[in-house]
Every structure is written in structure tokens, then in C-alpha cells.
Symmetry: C2
Subunit: 372 residues, 2 copies
């Protein structure tokens, strides 16, 4: 903060706060308003003061338990109902800032109200996005984080065969996502790292674009079923993808399946410490798919970094020139959408090492035809 001329750092309850303090994130409800004072809750840190944790009264018992024993937290302030919430923010910013005129750094998901109140509390202060320097701090995982990533990845590997065993013709994609989530919890997940997705494509009957009506597509014969799910465990995320066939695939589908797997393998091999950028890695896989004529059918980035959040920078796409380093974790997830509606995709979590990528997933890449 001193180097960057920052006088106050404010982080809402978030994965970034969890990374810096161990205070666990929450999975927010999908509502604009939730608890009174939510927009001033989080951590306030000055150069020579704090951190002070502010928490709304509803749910504060959980935070009280977490703060207990952390002597380096100078105060837990529980918000009343009602209270002058902007006044609490103004007071704390004043205390943290003292007579400094440095910038105020905010977590990227702080509310608009928070930014506005910060400008009122310190009209001369520049606002800066704390994610610009905290995001890069999270890129290279330390030894403890690497072990946590292995455990989160093991959950999906362990769950996968159980999931396949429960598939039945006639199930909808939404029913399959419920089955997946229950099995993930059964294998110890604390939660899912993102909304579980199941893409049923390429039915013989035809059923439009595989990305439309994704929840209510029905598992039939001669479909492709592309899974995309991940577990949250001990604050770290996995993200996993495989595609299975419900009926003997056509030669063209086999060819595309092999192509996607080869593109992934080439990318994994290229993930050597200090020798390739995020954008260059995307090119490695993309050029293989382009050379086969399927370039326009690979419609998304090759992957993304993963850790406490399922999607973290760097991103494997044109324009991201971050140099890969040992201990960075990425998803490698090429895919091809076929003209017959099939959607073939694979995804693993891979760590950069001096010798190339180390695939953390143990689930194999062989083509699977389910007998349903």
C-alpha cells in the first residue's frame, strides 16, 4: 500500500478477503438488496490502523466466531438495524486515513454506494481498483494452495463415475445437474464452484443450438453430453469437463473428439515455466483446431486461471500477455461445436511446471460410449 500511495484498502467479504485474511467468503443471494448496511461491510485497513471488520447484525455470529482468536484484527464492528451506515464508513475511513492524502483502494465488487461514500469521506482521494494489484498476488499458488487445489480436483475425479452411473435416457439436463451437485456434496464438496452445466447436443432428432434451452433438453440416443462442473473445497475450486456419447459416434464425431483431446494435450505440454504467454498458449491449441478446419467452431477462450475463484486472471486468450510461471493453475478446455449439433469439449486443471503442464485430473480422456 505504501509503495502504491494507498492510504486505505477496503475489501468486501469476498474471495480476495478470504485470500488475505482467512475470513471466509459468502455465496451471496441473487438480490440487489440483502441485509441492511451490506455495502459498508467488509475489511477496512489503513497503513497504521486496522484492520477493522464490519459485518451486518444478521449473520454476524458466523463472523464473530471467525474473528475470535485473530489478535491482528483490531475490531469487529457489528452494524445495528437501523444505523447511519454511511456514517460508519466515513468514521472508519477517517481513522484509517489519518492525515494521509493517499488513494483509496476498493475491491472490484464493492458496491456503487461504497465508492460514492468513499468519495464523500475523502473528496481529495483517488479511487483505485484493488484487484489490479491483489489479482496478480494470487496467480502463483504456494505449497499449501497447491495441495488444496489437488483436493478440490480430486472431488470431481471421484464423483465422475458415480455421475455417469446415474444417467438414464429421458432425463433433462436440469435433472442431471441436480444429480451432479448431490454427488459432489456426497464426495465432500463444500459447494459448487459455479453453476453446474450439462450440454446435451446432437440428438438424431435435432434440437436446435446446443446453447439454447440448456436446462430442459432431454437425454436421448446418439447425443453428446458435455459436462461442466466444479467443486469448492476448503476455499479452492475445481472445474472439470468431459464429453460422453449415448450411442456409437459417427466417424466425424470420433475425429472431432480426437482433435479436441489432441489440442488439449498439445497445450498442456507447452505449459513450461517462463517459456510461453497466456495468449501464446491459446494459439497452440487454437491453431491445431484451425488447421483441421474447425477454427470457427471453437468459440471461446482456451481457459482461465483457477484458484479461490473458478475464473481468475490470467485468461488464455488473445491479448493476455502474462508469462506462465510454475505454480500457476489453468483450466485447459478446448471445444468444437459441430454442424450436426454435437458439442465436444474437454476440461482439466493443469499446473505450470518447468517441464510442462501437470494435469491434476486423473480421469482419462478416452472416448466413452454409454450403454443406457
Amino acid at each position: 500500500m505504501e509503495e502504491r500511495g494507498i492510504s486505505v484498502l477496503f475489501l468486501p467479504v469476498s474471495s480476495t478477503l478470504e485470500y488475505l485474511t482467512g475470513l471466509s467468503r459468502e455465496i451471496p443471494n441473487p438480490t440487489e438488496d440483502d441485509r441492511p448496511g451490506d455495502w459498508v461491510s467488509g475489511m477496512y485497513l489503513g497503513l497504521n490502523a486496522g484492520p477493522v471488520i464490519v459485518e451486518p447484525r444478521m449473520g454476524s455470529a458466523h463472523m464473530e466466531r471467525q474473528v475470535a482468536g485473530k489478535d491482528w484484527i483490531s475490531e469487529l464492528y457489528v452494524l445495528g438495524e437501523p444505523e447511519d451506515y454511511s456514517g460508519v464508513l466515513t468514521r472508519l475511513v477517517g481513522e484509517m486515513r489519518g492525515d494521509s492524502n493517499g488513494a483509496i483502494a476498493l475491491g472490484q465488487r464493492a458496491w456503487t454506494n461504497t465508492a460514492i461514500d468513499m468519495l464523500k469521506a475523502a473528496p481529495d482521494a483517488e479511487l483505485v481498483n484493488a484487484h489490479e494489484f491483489l489479482g496478480p498476488m494470487r496467480m502463483v499458488k504456494d505449497d499449501g494452495e497447491r495441495e488444496a487445489m489437488r483436493r478440490a480436483v480430486a472431488v470431481v475425479d471421484n464423483a465422475y463415475e458415480d455421475i455417469l452411473a446415474q444417467l438414464r435416457l429421458g432425463m433433462t439436463s436440469r435433472e442431471i445437474t441436480w444429480i451432479i451437485d448431490r454427488i459432489l456434496y456426497g464426495h465432500g464438496a463444500d459447494g459448487v464452484s459455479f453453476h453446474t452445466s450439462v450440454y446435451i447436443g446432437g440428438a438424431a432428432s435435432g434440437d436446435g443450438n446446443v446453447f439454447e434451452n440448456t436446462s430442459n433438453r432431454v437425454l436421448g440416443r446418439d447425443c453428446t453430453v458435455a459436462f461442466d462442473f466444479g467443486a469448492l473445497l476448503d476455499g479452492y475450486c475445481s472445474d472439470f469437463g468431459r464429453t460422453v456419447f449415448t450411442g456409437e459416434p459417427s466417424e466425424e464425431r470420433r475425429r472431432v473428439y480426437d482433435l479436441v483431446i489432441s489440442a488439449q494435450a498439445a497445450a498442456i505440454e507447452a505449459m513450461k515455466d517462463g517459456q510461453i504467454t497466456a495468449a501464446q498458449l491459446d494459439r497452440v491449441a487454437r491453431s491445431i483446431i484451425e488447421d483441421s478446419g474447425h477454427g470457427p467452431a471453437f468459440i471461446h477462450r482456451l481457459g482461465h486461471a483457477i484458484g479461490k475463484d473458478v475464473h481468475e486472471p490470467p485468461f488464455l486468450l488473445e491479448g493476455d500477455d502474462t508469462l506462465l510461471q510454475t505454480g500457476m493453475f489453468f483450466t485447459i478446455e478446448p471445444s468444437v461445436v459441430m454442424d450436426d449439433g454435437a458439442f465436444i469439449r474437454v476440461e482439466d486443471v493443469v499446473m505450470v511446471t518447468p517441464e510442462g503442464g501437470e494435469n491434476l485430473n486423473r480421469t482419462g480422456h478416452e472416448l466413452r460410449v454409454l450403454e443406457l
Copy 2:
């Protein structure tokens, strides 16, 4: 906007944008970063320009379908990967603002990056929180919204008996939440309006605070089971609560059950157009519970407005002096935590009318003992 001196309104994809435009919200993934450029995506509206909708390329097909046919949208701009996202924002703010020096209003959940980029694009502009004037616009529901609220409430009423029929001794609270969510979808819900909660309290064996370890408590005999769940349907939310007993309740539990139901009934009766404020309504129910000696055991607000979001202003708590008007919808949800660990709670969605509250829920309030 003109009255308030606002030159540009920016709203992220959200319930508020859905309210104003019909463009549907999305349920965000629990990750700080998601798609490239997410922080500049949403609606840009000037006094004499726009609206322009900006959408990241991943997932843009859904937005393209929604924008089609809406001639009043001047442009849908799909973000590239990569692109100068801040540059897109700067260009659009310039186009919307023209030579005005008015304020820039931001939706309350816009990102920090958005606020910072707005200040860079228009350094002289004041930032204001658009929720301060858009929130109140949403308080009184029009006829179409009232019908939508009835439909969302009907989903939970229709689901409730099916849920009770599936309860078994030995289930965990998490297993019960899965059952509830599946049944809600089975009754037509588009989603859940918030994370489904099941509070198992007061087991004869004792099991600590009912709000600790909430996911893994086991349904046993002589428990209280307090449900809290809601459906999202056609963009509107329900929010529902009942408490059932797994064994004949003690006299004290019966007394508290009746108390909670009476406190709710008194509040519903008092919800007359123009005759009571949000804070006064909270007092109506709270004073009944206080008079019985259980005041400190009613640990939260009486309720909240509900509509497109499950939690909307006004809030039924001390300090909220909004006058109730016909067509406002509130949850009325008193509760008591008992010394024996039982947790007794009821919740209905109620509309303010000239004659008092109209309860939209049809599920009865009689004490239910489940034979499991």
C-alpha cells in the same frame, strides 16, 4: 433524469434493468471475475441518446434474442475478446453525455472498476446511486406485477404439501433443501428466489444453536423444522415460511407457536393504505412478542418488501419511516428462538390494501405435527 440533473444512467444486467426494460437478469456465478469486460456490460442511457446495451461475447446470443424487436434500443454492442473495455465505456459515456455536465447515475451493484472508469471518462461528473430513485419506483406494484406476485406465491403454496410428504427421519437439512428445490422446479419455478434454508431445531438430544452448522443438522424426533424458501417465476419472487413439529410439542412450544401466529395476524391486519409506516408495523408484531416475554428471542426485522428481488426496500424495522401504500408487497415473518433450541417462524407474502393486508398465501397456519 432531467429533474435530477443526471446526464447518464448506467445499469448492470440486474433486476432493476429487467424492471425498466424487460431484459432479463442473470444469476451470477460466485466468482469475482467471470467474463472479459463484465464490468462495462449493461445499459447506457443518455437524456437524448441510447439506450445502448453492452454484452460480453460469451453468452451474448441470449441477449441478442432479447434485444431483437425492441426498436427503442439504439444498439447492442457485443464486446470482443480482447477489447479495450474501458475504452468502450469511455466512448459510450461521451456519446450519452454530449456536452452536458450532469451527474452519472450507477446501479448499486455496478463494479468498482465501473465507477472508476466513469470518473475517468467524465472527471467533472458527480456519481450518484441510481437505486435511490429507482428503488422507490419499484415499491408499488402495478396490476400486471400483482398478478405475477400471485403466481410466484402460488408455486410455494402448491409445493408445500409435496415437500412435507417427502420428509423422513435421518435426513439432513441440506438433503431437505435439495428436495424443496426440485419440487419448486416441478411446480414451474424458473429458479429459487434465494438460497433455500431449513432450520432443524430443538431436538430432544440438544444440538447447540439452531443457526450453527445449518446444512448438516439431522431430522430427528421432537424437532422443530422451520422452512424458508421462495420461487422465482416470470421475474417475480415469493418467500415462504412455516414451522412443523416432529413429535407432539410441549405446552411451551404450543404457546410460542400461537404467539408467533398471533403477532403475524396482528401485523397483517394493520397493513392499511396510508395509515402505518414500515417501522410502526414492525412495532405492532414486536410489541406482542415483547409483552409475552420473548422480545429478545425475536432477533430480526419483521419483514421486507418483495417483488423482482426477494429483499427490496422498504424494510420493516425501526428507522424505516416509509408510509405503506396499496400495492406494496411485504413478507411478514415473525419468529422466536426458544431456550430449548426450538425455532418457530412463519412467513407469508402480504399486499397492502385500504382494508388491511391481503395474504397471498393460501397455506394455513394451524400447528402441524408430522408422523414420520
